[in-house]
Symmetry: C2
Subunit: 352 residues, 2 copies
């Protein structure tokens, strides 16, 4: 492991580009001084911002490029005009060339996924990438995947998601054998869940050294923290994530409304301000910003496009942890002989 | 329309059976005095409870049966021992025979769906049932379907869900032309969404007199109230619902924790008690209890199995509204020539 963690940043990514990325990197550097950065972006925009952060400037190299990926372009468009030369591509390419240990971008998700796949390639044995995120729960945090990197999942992919997600949990939560639940719905004997049921059977019957399968879980188990890792296919996972975000915002809005309606409520709010502050921090989506693309030959972190510097710093932190605690090696372990056998069994089951 | 709404109740359904159903019916009767009930259940258990509610007793007929469906049986098991004679079957059968206008049960969802389908049959043109629920939003309420009656949906079924959901919105919200959004995820050019995209195209290009299609929506749009009706297939819909419930409970628990940690917070809570009460009512899942099975030749309401009397009464209220405002006739209208043509187009598109 290198003594410094080398982080490549797409300085132009996200809704606010370098005006978020540069101060975000500064916050992350304060927390992890054993970090150095390579920034890819437009010199004219990035350099003045960097001048204001002398500590970051001393630990960062700026590589100029004029091309940046727009937030609403389709992946195919982005690849056409952005391959080889955009800030996003070059950020990923730094990982590919071994010049950086991790790539972080707040840019267009679809484009980032397409470029990462194209440039870094998939790990042997994994066909499709996954997007894994941290979900705040009553007990702490869980990892949920796939959050939308691919739609639909066959049995083998669900088993692979389990291996990748549990490897990430070992890295982030420092648990030797994380628990894993497979997201399902409560209605029995409904058609169409063959993949989920088949994956459940494989996970139940296998003996996996790197995780402990606890069975099917439902949507409300995620927030309860029933399992360290929740596995689902990307369509349902993305909808679960966005729905939870929407519900949290809805609750916060109700609460604001309720606390300003009468003078008694306003006074109560003033008295309990500290408690509300704690609550706000607990529900702060910025703290759990930063999803990890799994299955690639390299570590790629996606920050929310609308993140502020604090949120972007959280995404950089996750990247730091992934490198420091050797995510890729741990995924490799989980995908070792044990799981290859399982995949073969899954393939045989699907074929029969 | 009958002068009285005739409601058949599965008195044995739910986690608490008649001890919830009977007082729940009493609450519903207070709100809608133009109601009469047929109760199906075990006389020895139900009658003493009914004696305590003289007003309800005067408006209710009790039909004795010793067979009731267990909450955790599979639908096939339930059909085996419960067909023709269980309280659940007889409740549905009262609708089938025209003795009641609506059936309400808090029993086993899978069994209720199987029996309803078997006994009442599907509306012509609809192949699969749907479960539609009321979702509290910032703006008021929206209808979300399918919440898990069936898994996976082809283009035609998504279009049918739109017709059924918008008919329900016309009945419940009294809007001439409700808005409809199709639930999707934000990642572009990801494979596997052909049905959703195809349904989107049909809904965009068609001119539907009974609803207004507003395009794709994401998970966080549900709570914002972006559309009156949100359409999705059952797996994602069920996971969205359960995840939102889990998040709301999580937030409530954080809030309780925060407001009891210090004496200032406790005092603030006391002062703002009225505001917290309003908030609690706003987030109260009991108020939106009662999902509607759509697509059947008859109106069937599913109450949450764990509902208390107040929650069960909400489910009865929904059944009342569905009859009073002629849901079945309105679904029929929406499924008229206009939509049949669309279904044919969808079928042609899927076949090509």
């Amino acid at each position: 492991m290198p003594s410094n963690i080398r982080i490549a940043l797409d300085a132009m990514g996200g809704d606010h580009g370098p005006s978020t990325v540069i101060p975000g990197a500064e916050i992350a550097l304060e927390r992890h001084p054993d970090t150095e950065f390579i920034l890819f972006g437009d010199r004219a925009t990035v350099e003045p911002l960097l001048e204001r952060q002398p500590r970051l400037k001393a630990k960062a190299k700026l590589v100029h490029t004029e091309v940046s990926i727009r937030m609403d372009d389709k992946p195919s468009q982005a690849l056409r005009y952005g391959r080889w030369k955009s800030s996003m591509w070059l950020t990923l390419d730094a990982v590919k060339k071994g010049e950086a240990d991790v790539a972080v971008s707040a840019g267009n998700t679809g484009a980032l996924m397409a470029m990462a796949r194209f440039n870094l390639k998939m790990i042997e044995g994994i066909e499709r990438p996954a997007l894994a995120g941290l979900w705040p729960t009553i007990k702490g945090e869980s990892i949920v995947l796939d959050l939308g990197a691919s739609i639909g999942a066959d049995t083998g992919h669900l088993v692979n998601l389990t291996a990748m997600g549990s490897a990430m949990a070992r890295v982030l939560f420092d648990i030797e054998r994380p628990t894993v639940g497979l997201l399902n719905i409560g209605v029995e004997e409904v058609k169409g869940l063959e993949e989920v049921r088949q994956a459940g059977q494989i996970l139940r019957e296998g003996h996996f050294p790197h995780f402990k399968y606890i069975g099917f879980v439902e949507g409300d188990d995620i927030g309860k923290g029933t399992a360290d890792v929740i596995v689902t296919e990307g369509f349902a996972g993305n909808i679960a994530l966005k729905t939870a975000e929407g519900t949290a915002r809805q609750f916060a809005q109700y609460l604001r409304g309720a606390m300003t309606r009468t003078w008694r409520a306003k006074l109560g709010y003033l008295l309990a301000r500290g408690a509300f502050q704690t609550l706000r921090e607990k529900m702060d989506p910025r703290k759990s910003n930063g999803a990890v693309f799994l299955g690639l030959n390299g570590i790629v972190i996606k920050s929310h496009g609308g993140a502020d510097p604090e949120g972007f710093a959280s995404a950089v932190d996750i990247g730091y942890d992934m490198v420091r605690y050797e995510l890729l090696a741990k995924i490799g372990e989980s995908l070792s002989r044990d799981l290859r056998e399982t995949n073969a069994r899954a393939a045989a089951g699907a074929a029969s």
